[in-house]
Symmetry: C2
Subunit: 224 residues, 2 copies
């Protein structure tokens, strides 16, 4: 055990040094071109030592995920401050999302690889991601609450989560988008958000009640 007062054993400093070295190299050269040997050297540590603290190269990215998440939550706040138009609110959140994640586009391979692996704790649908999922859903709940749009009661509970899934779809598209300045994704965000808002507003239409009920039944049965 470590001394009573000291909060960090020596190892935690080393671990921090390795993380910082890794993040710097990832930022600089991307994930694939960053070798564990380079990370170790950059941290002033032996190769084997890096593996003493991180089970694998991918595990080094957990720190990154946390940073992305925090950055988006912070960046999105102003867009919700003084705005009551639902479309503008939604658009603001999605645009800041794109801004925040843009520097990480070069990681897309890894991001989506882990994100798509059902067994990976980084997977947004994985059990371990429940907190992140919940935070994301809450963000979209706030987007809705701050607007003056009325949501039918029966589906009100589902919509925020559906918006989060929608945003995951945006990210999925973004991952594959190699257009200049991510132009295609920006077009997608601007226009699909408009569509989404239109549909949300339409949902109160009595004509669409059957459709709404079908959708609700579906959501309940697949346990989303």
């Amino acid at each position: 055990m470590t001394t009573a007062g000291s909060r960090t054993r020596k190892g935690e400093q080393t671990k921090a040094r390795i993380v910082e070295a890794a993040l710097e190299l990832f930022r600089e050269s991307g994930y694939d071109d960053t070798t564990m040997r380079a990370v170790a050297q950059n941290a002033g540590v032996s190769l084997g030592n890096a593996y003493y603290y991180f089970k694998s190269k991918e595990h080094l990215l957990h720190a990154y995920y946390a940073r992305i998440h925090a950055a988006h939550a912070e960046a999105a706040a102003p867009a919700l401050e003084n705005e009551s138009d639902l479309h503008k609110r939604l658009l603001g959140v999605l645009k800041t999302k794109l801004e925040v994640i843009e520097p990480f586009h070069r990681f897309s391979g890894l991001l989506f690889r882990t994100a798509a692996d059902p067994k990976s704790p980084l997977n947004p649908f994985h059990e371990d991601s429940a907190p992140a999922r919940q935070e994301g859903t809450q963000l979209f709940a706030r987007v809705l609450e701050g607007s003056r749009v009325k949501i039918p009661k029966d589906i009100a509970q589902k919509v925020p989560h559906l918006l989060w899934v929608y945003s995951m779809g945006i990210v999925l598209f973004w991952l594959h988008d190699d257009s200049k300045d991510r132009a295609r994704t920006h077009a997608l965000v601007e226009q699909s958000s408009e569509l989404v808002v239109k549909m949300i507003k339409m949902l109160s239409n009595p004509l669409l009640r059957p459709l709404r009920k079908s959708a609700l039944k579906l959501l309940n049965e697949i346990d989303v």
Copy 2:
């Protein structure tokens, strides 16, 4: 050039031998545990020679995909034979898809993890997957053609591809589905297909023309 009559140079036989060796080993031990050296040896060929015919290990899996798709196309044919109801046609195709891919669910972590990487040639949205993508789209074009549902001309060209993307979404859900007998995915297929058909039928409604136009504009701008 090869002689007039002979349809296959020698190389194509070698290539076939390598594919067969690979598929056998994949089936036996999964993707990750099958080494290129084992494939080469199993095919009675040198390691380098395998790379002469296949740019990478992942390229060998295209053959696997091709077989799955062929199996699906064959299995789905009866469901399209004597049926004109769009929902039943769509449902038939999706259900047979689930049946065909079910044996691979246990490999999904290994197999589809790499497939999800935007840079991976296995990714369904990757350039190298264009043929598979096209075949898939054609299958859904057939689903539509055989039914009596009228699709508005402006979007007619887009719908088959959208249905294919929809089916990819189903597969993505399936990957994460650990419910007994894949019950959640089956619920999703049954009910979402109903919804999809409803929406397709609704699309001709003049009231929805603006929505249709917006969607079309979106699709064109993001180049889908």
